[in-house]
């Protein structure tokens, strides 16, 4: 059964949910088969394919930071995503813009702690290591809740701080590297699959080695294409069943016409 926002809210404190950021329909389809509760993607070019690949899974569509410069634009994009079948909207903009979406009934997920889109300002680091920063996080969470957000992604926040906040807010708290005492455990599918040959975040865990799988597939692609090339050059491709023979009498007539028309 697809979880709607009200189901997700009702499950707060009942059981941990799982969430994956997917790059496309292959991962979305597998996430549904694996019983993942929520999938997320901000890729507009993949949005419809992802929705179609996982019709029974809660799909949170992400508004890309920088694409929308006021509430009207964010609301337009959010409505477009809901029309396309999204179940909720991720938006890492300020409570002021989130309020504009929530006011119109759009289920919004905000973002606090390490927000990579804002790392120019904050640096790439863990959050909540000092009392002062933990207090600031709490106020940010309260502001989002006040604005009407239904959930908040909490990224790389020290574990006891995330746990304390999670137990005190009505919002669903989505942990990305913020420990196991929030409401939802969230990872990127590329990390879970071990697709990233680049650096893996410390908080992520790989359950497969798709980098090796892809390297193997690359070698097989290259071998198949090389076999095609060799066969084309030695004329073993195309063989008789792979060509249209035509009609010998008609071809003969065409040849005679060609030779007559070209002195």
């Amino acid at each position: 059964m697809k979880l709607e926002v009200h189901h997700i809210r009702a499950l707060k404190g009942v059981r941990q949910l799982t969430e994956l950021n997917v790059t496309g329909p292959d991962q979305a389809h597998a996430a549904q088969a694996a019983g993942i509760d929520i999938i997320v993607s901000g890729r507009l070019d993949q949005r419809d394919a992802i929705r179609a690949a996982a019709p029974g899974t809660h799909f949170c569509f992400g508004l890309i930071y920088g694409h929308h410069v006021n509430t009207d634009q964010a609301l337009r994009a959010a409505f477009d995503a809901l029309d396309a079948g999204a179940d909720s909207i991720y938006c890492c903009l300020s409570p002021r813009i989130i309020e504009g979406l929530a006011r119109e009934g759009v289920p919004v997920v905000g973002h606090v702690g390490l927000v990579p889109q804002k790392a120019r300002l904050t640096g790439f680091r863990a959050f909540g290591k000092t009392l002062e920063e933990a207090q600031r996080l709490w106020r940010e969470v309260c502001d989002l809740e006040q604005a009407g957000a239904v959930a908040v992604e909490m990224e790389v926040v020290v574990e006891p701080v995330a746990a304390a906040i999670s137990s005190r807010t009505a919002m669903t708290v989505i942990s990305m590297g913020s420990g196991g005492r929030c409401d939802v455990q969230y990872l990127f599918a590329v990390d879970v699959l071990g697709e990233t040959t680049a650096r893996m975040p410390r908080h992520a865990r790989a359950y497969a080695d798709f980098a090796a799988e892809y390297a193997r597939l690359h070698d097989r692609r290259a071998a198949a294409f090389a076999a095609f090339r060799a066969a084309a050059l030695d004329a073993s491709y195309p063989a008789a069943p792979e060509v249209v023979a035509g009609n010998p009498a008609e071809t003969g007539a065409f040849r005679a016409w060609l030779e007559g028309s070209r002195p």
């Binding site: 994956l20 790389v156 497969a208 090389a226 069943p241 792979e242």
Partner: protein, 265 residues
């Protein structure tokens, strides 16, 4: 290959050296085509062009204008220049000689399309071309029109092989055979057919691998990995301490005490 072929190189190879062309569906196939020494790669999905160009910087890249996207010579020329700016070495255009001529006039290497043209099956039906002398003659005239318009290549699709072989030495254009036998200048197939990735393979295509089975296997591996993540969350085995950030001593207690003093809504 150290240097990518220009259209000039392709024309010089006519009658001397057979070339091999591949339609690639993305950067993965483009990268493999480079390793395999494929001479020409083709793609018609504009969103993927920068990634494909980056994946195969030294391979001749023919970018395809999609039938229906351009409705005037001006639009065709604009789209072709845009594709060249993205790194195309030549342009495939399935439109008429009247649309191709303005491209050639401005120095753009163009590949035309004759025989069975899938985009035009409403008109022709889905069938091989050149099975009668009359149809072969019409094909000859069509090819000469493309040649006069300035096209330097022409894709011949599902043309009776002896007819394609008769046409090839009688045109200055480089002929590209897709299902038109081995007597053309270039032999052309789709990467998805060679890898058996498409739901259905045309009769003229040959598969050298079975990526359909690989796709099913990878799907199962994805499901297994995601299921393991889900199970670990449900049983408390994820996240482990190494995957979380611990608080410095005292911070958690001080924060909890402060939280408890906050006014309740």
């Amino acid at each position: 290959m150290t240097r990518r072929l220009t259209m000039h190189d392709i024309q010089v190879a006519k009658g001397r050296q057979k070339l091999v062309q591949l339609n690639v569906n993305g950067p993965e196939q483009a990268r493999a085509a480079v390793v395999a020494g494929i001479d020409i790669i083709v793609n018609g999905e504009a969103a993927r062009w920068p990634a494909i160009r980056a994946a195969a910087p030294d391979t001749h890249l023919c970018l395809s204008l999609r039938y229906g996207d351009q409705a005037s010579a001006t639009e065709v020329l604009r789209a072709a220049f845009d594709a060249l700016a993205l790194g195309a070495d030549s342009i495939y255009c399935p439109l008429s000689p009247a649309m191709i001529e303005p491209l050639a006039r401005e120095g753009i290497p163009v590949c035309a399309h004759a025989g069975y043209v899938p985009q035009k099956t409403r008109m022709t039906g889905l069938r091989a071309a050149g099975k009668t002398a009359a149809e072969a003659q019409a094909l000859y005239r069509r090819i000469k029109e493309f040649e006069s318009a300035g096209a330097t290549m022409v894709e011949l699709e599902l043309v009776a092989a002896p007819v394609a072989a008769l046409l090839t030495p009688r045109t200055l254009m480089t002929t590209v055979s897709i299902g038109s036998g081995g007597g053309c200048d270039v032999i052309y197939l789709f990467g998805v057919d060679i890898l058996n990735e498409a739901p259905r393979r045309p009769r003229h295509a040959r598969a050298w691998d079975d990526f359909g089975a690989e796709a099913r296997r990878l799907h199962d591996a994805r499901v297994a990995a995601f299921s393991a993540f889900r199970t670990d969350v449900a049983t408390g085995r994820f996240p482990a301490p190494a995957e979380t950030v611990a608080a410095p001593p005292g911070v958690a207690d001080a924060f909890t005490e402060w939280l408890d003093r906050q006014p309740q809504d």
